[in-house]
Amino acid sequence: MQQNEGLLDSVILRKKILAFWHNRHVSSYQLELGLLLTPFLLGTAVLLLLPMLLTIFLAFTSYNAFTPPQWNGLQNFITIFQRDVFWIAVRNSLVYVSFSAPLQLLGALLLALLLYHQRYGVREYRIAAFLPSVIPEVAYALIWLWIFNPLYGPLNKLLGWVGLPEQAWLVNTATALPSLIFMSCFRLGEGMFVLIAALQGIPPAYFQAAALDGGSRWQILRHIILPLLTPWLLLLLLRDILLSTQSSFAPVYMMTEGGPGYATMLLPYLIYDEAFSHFRLGHAASMLLVMFVVMGILLWLVYRLLGGWGYTDEI
């Protein structure tokens, strides 16, 4: 009897030891995870969260970079809302994002549909399509400054050769903003690769079944590909809306400085100009806060209008 009890005790002890080691293993894994994530989390906190909180605070202060910020409630918002140039910048920014992000997505989708099959030479085409995405923003702006040159640029030369009227591009108030939108449409390499990966993940059986049923290419696209790509398309659209807003600064700074007139005055450039040319960092922070809110509303609207993430099954 005592021997049995001793055996039972030893079994319980063994189980306890195993449980201890198992628990220890889990905490060791969590520790590793925590250690590996720490640099990133620290960077996020110091470089993103802290400046964001400071921006929210500064939006309610009068701050000129020379003297400490002074609380002034909603005065910054009242002032910027009374300025025409602010509303011009909001309107231009919304126009820019509304065209740039969907066009980038459409371009990425078309290229992905063209290039997702493994064929001879397709890799080179993919690299060519991806190249504009890896060029630094400043260099990209300078290249397009040359392309848009109204007298010596290749774009107008091309139009001249095919008998179309040459354009003033960045000089004309009617074409300046569309020109910036046009140049943004070629930075679609990342989106293209995401969609190629998504397309390659669609089970071939779906296409085979559609072919057996006599489905046309359009029907396959409409009823199989697009529904299955919806989560990816929405993800890319939300991402492109955010990136379009951020990446609009470099072309405006390098190419137009908001002109001609205020035709290409976008919020990121106006915020920069307000902060560092006119030393009104409080106004700049309040504009930034408005931009956050507008972008948040836009993202929410897009998400709601497209009915959320759509098809949720794994593909």
Partner: protein
């Protein structure tokens, strides 16, 4: 690679990074026991300027072995001002910086610049009487001399003598009138291949309030309603409006200046340097670049006059940051740079018109062997010289007015529309009476 290995390498990298100390810039070795002072000096200029200021620093260092100066050059003027603002915001402004008076209002209003009046009074090396009063007054705020002007430049007409010779046109005289200026520019504007677009333009000029200002003043107009206590613009007075209409008409009516498309395709500066523009209005800053031109001969002429002579001051000054920790050493440098030796070094670049009267009248500036041959026009302009207002909000006002002058110049707005829009948009930046 297992998880343990990843963790090990991550920790190793973090450990090595933590062990690495940032190597502070080494200072020149001072004599044992001597207290060494390090200053930062922020400028905006091209490589020629950078070399000249480094020469200035080296000359200063031979006399002041206990002071080391770190020169920081931000080539773009806009980026320079942004860097300066960021440095002030961070609480680490440069000890001394060189800046145009048009951008100083913010700094003076925020008490960010240390007044130099007391230093000047105590100086045995420099006296205010040695400098042009027109330059000194542009840097005075509430009765105090805030910065020491380094130069006293103004816009002049650079002209391509070869193009004048080819067209059989006499070089500009010192007292030419607006009408003569226009007819000369028209005669020099040429469409050589007959495609309807000028291949050589008669004139190039920025469409800004800085360039338009002398013409407004020449015509008896004003930019502000009251220079002492401005409450608004005065561009809608008949004299100012007529001057602006004439200025804008150079492009919209006479077509002697490149239009917006031609200017976008190639800047007027580039056209002049490449020999495809006969006249170009700029300040003394263009001289170092133009001295490199070998394909044609050039010189400078005074601005054409209307009812009276007038010009606008272009001047940069050495300013001391109020938050600077080494103000005595900083003053020693400003004093040296503003003295005879310092200004002589800078005058050799060709870029500056010295603010010291005696030096400006000497061969250091009026060097007969260096272009432009007619450098005296810069000095002749001094008696009619005025400066743009020194206000905390002037950069806003200047930006708005220049934007609408440019719109009118390139035909986007009429002169009346431009003036009305400038009045309306700039109103919030004037103090409420």
């Amino acid at each position: 690679m297992s998880r343990q290995q990843v963790l090990f390498f991550s920790l190793l990298v973090a450990f090595l990074a933590a062990c690495t100390t940032i190597q502070a810039p080494t200072s020149p070795v001072a004599e044992e026991g001597a207290v060494f002072t390090e200053l930062t000096f922020l400028i905006s200029g091209d490589p020629t300027d950078q070399t000249a200021y480094q020469t200035l620093i080296d000359a200063f260092s031979t006399e002041h072995t206990d002071i080391s100066i770190n020169l920081i050059n931000i080539p773009s003027g806009g980026d320079f001002r942004k860097r300066l603002a960021a440095d002030f915001a961070a609480g680490t402004p440069p000890d001394v910086f060189l800046i145009n008076y048009r951008h100083l209002g913010h700094f003076f209003a925020a008490n960010a610049v240390e007044p130099l009046t007391d230093y000047l009074a105590a100086s045995t090396l420099i006296r205010t009487d040695d400098y042009y009063a027109e330059a000194l007054t542009a840097f005075q705020w509430q009765g105090k001399q805030m910065c020491m002007p380094q130069n006293i430049s103004s816009p002049v007409v650079y002209y391509n003598k070869d193009l004048f010779n080819a067209a059989g046109i006499a070089y500009p005289s010192d007292d030419w009138h607006w009408d003569e200026f226009v007819t000369t520019a028209q005669a020099l504007t040429q469409d050589q291949d007959g495609d309807g677009t000028a291949d050589i333009y008669g004139l190039g000029m920025e469409a800004t309030i800085v360039r338009a200002a002398p013409f407004i003043w020449m015509n008896g107009g004003e930019i502000l309603d009251d220079e002492a206590a401005p409450a608004g613009l005065a561009l809608d007075s008949p004299e100012s409006k007529a001057a602006l209409a004439w200025f804008v008409g150079l492009q919209t009516e006479h077509h002697v200046v490149p239009n917006a498309v031609a200017e976008e395709a190639e800047s007027s500066l580039s056209r002049f340097v490449n020999g495809r523009m006969a006249m170009f209005v700029d300040s003394r800053r263009a001289v170092p670049e133009f001295r490199l031109i070998e394909s044609f001969d050039w010189d400078v002429a005074a601005l054409p006059v209307s009812q009276q002579r007038a010009s606008v001051l272009h001047s940069d000054a050495f300013c001391m940051a109020a938050a600077g920790q080494q103000q005595d050493a900083t003053w020693a440098f400003i004093e040296f740079a503003s003295g005879v030796e310092g200004q002589t070094i800078l005058a050799q670049t060709g870029r500056t018109v010295p603010s010291r009267k005696a030096l400006a009248e000497s061969e250091s500036f009026l060097d007969p062997n260096a272009k432009p041959a007619n450098s005296r026009v810069f000095l002749d302009a001094v008696p009619g010289m005025r400066h743009l207002p020194l206000m905390a909000t002037w950069s806003d006002i200047e930006g708005i007015v220049s934007k609408h002058i440019e719109n009118a110049f390139y035909g986007i707005e009429t002169v009346d529309e431009a003036i009305e829009a400038a009045n309306q948009q700039s109103a919030e930046f004037f103090p409420v009476p």
